[in-house]
Symmetry: C2
Subunit: 254 residues, 2 copies
């Protein structure tokens, strides 16, 4: 008997970002594993059991879900946003890579979702309209020195930068240091977009310039998009400004 493991992206916030594919995969599961706040978003169906776990337990959660599926069940693991972006898909692959040989025979599928940077960008215009990168500021899993190298490289090369995990209780100083670092490379007028709890009732979207970026305005639920030298702000009477990065770059900067 062979089980199935589905690694499913819920998108940010509420139901309206869920794809049909993700919805079908959720319905089909007998058991659903996930970080507690994500499971809380999903109604429990009579045939389903939820297995909530805490943050920073991704490896253990992946292994538990795989073990359950290998016993012949249809098991799901959920991520907020997209499971492939700083989330459970890599944790599941890692567990299969380093786990018992029989785990490699398991039927695994990954169901994409709307990742936070796409949802935040959509709320304010098109800041990711040209070349961009996604960078996690968490130094739980990589040295801080490497994060600074990547900030330097991305800002200098003209990429817009989406910062995931800008702050946490255990990492209060990283975001401030990242902002200082970016100020070495980018003009003070560079627009930054802070998106918090997108798609939820307490959603907040805010545009500030790099010189006025208050590091206090980011928390664990915030995604920050840092513009490039090309990113523009369109002021609109009686409406929030649009922030976008044009599709064309005229010249190579020095």
């Amino acid at each position: 008997m062979t089980g199935t493991l589905s690694v499913i992206g819920l998108g940010p916030g509420d139901q309206r970002y869920l794809t049909e594919d993700a919805s079908d995969a959720l319905h089909a599961a007998e058991a659903i594993y996930g970080y507690r706040p994500y499971l809380d978003r999903i109604p429990i169906r009579s045939h389903q059991i939820h297995y909530p776990s805490e943050n920073r337990e991704e490896g253990l959660r992946a292994a538990a879900a795989i073990r359950h599926a290998v016993r012949g069940h249809n098991v799901a693991v959920v991520s907020g946003g997209d499971p492939g972006v700083f989330a459970m898909a890599a944790a599941v692959c890692e567990a299969i890579d380093t786990g018992p040989e029989e785990w490699r025979t398991l039927d695994v599928e990954f169901v994409p979702g709307i990742t936070a940077m796409l949802a935040v960008a959509a709320r304010i215009g098109a800041p990711l309209g040209h070349d961009f990168c996604a960078l996690s500021l968490s130094d739980n899993l990589k040295p801080w020195e490497l994060i600074e190298q990547r900030l330097d490289a991305a800002a200098n090369a003209g990429f817009v930068i989406a910062l995931y995990n800008p702050v946490s209780r255990a990492r209060p100083w990283q975001f401030g240091r990242a902002i200082e670092r970016l100020r070495r490379h980018l003009p003070t007028t560079t627009p930054l977009v802070f998106g918090r709890a997108v798609g939820r009732t307490d959603e907040q979207i805010k545009m500030v310039t790099l010189d006025a970026a208050e590091t206090a305005s980011a928390d664990m639920a915030t995604l920050v998009i840092v513009g490039s030298r090309e990113t523009r702000v369109v002021v609109r009477p009686g409406r929030e400004p649009l922030v976008y990065t044009p599709r064309a770059v005229a010249e190579v900067s020095a």
Copy 2:
């Protein structure tokens, strides 16, 4: 009377990648503008008119849709994937930025979708599981020299790289040049994922190593994900390999 313009992401391929939000926005529109093959995916409803246009007409399409909405209508513009990633959202913002003052008072919303790199990644594991960037190889809108600078910066700094628009009929050599450039920085064993027509019946997903990357295997409908030095391949008996980038980076490379 005030109209509304919705810039909507259809996701890649078929209906199953559509979010509830995008589906609702499509239903509500009186007129839908888009690149012809994307419009062909949407059933025409009795109250709706479709306005197809050709590739590389993004600016004209955006202006036509805005003019239509400003006359008091509920108008949609569609993109495959996500409208904010190398697509119509930036074209619409650009048109508003440079167009008549009254366009700034228009009610505009952007509805995110599953962009190609997320769908391709999900088909093979989690290649975007750690820091990554998205780079368009089209030099219609930026100098080739800048594209090479960005390839150098991203590969050196250890980002996984998603290449959008790797080839077109008008740009036959760019992808080959990009591969040559990447070979300067990355080991020959670096995995590349070629994803073609994801979510469609003729979908093709293929993993190759950098030394064996045939530039002939990419076309206009292909998205290519180039691994970093950390990206790993999990060989599985009787199944396609998984490709993933681990969540943790142990050391800073020289």
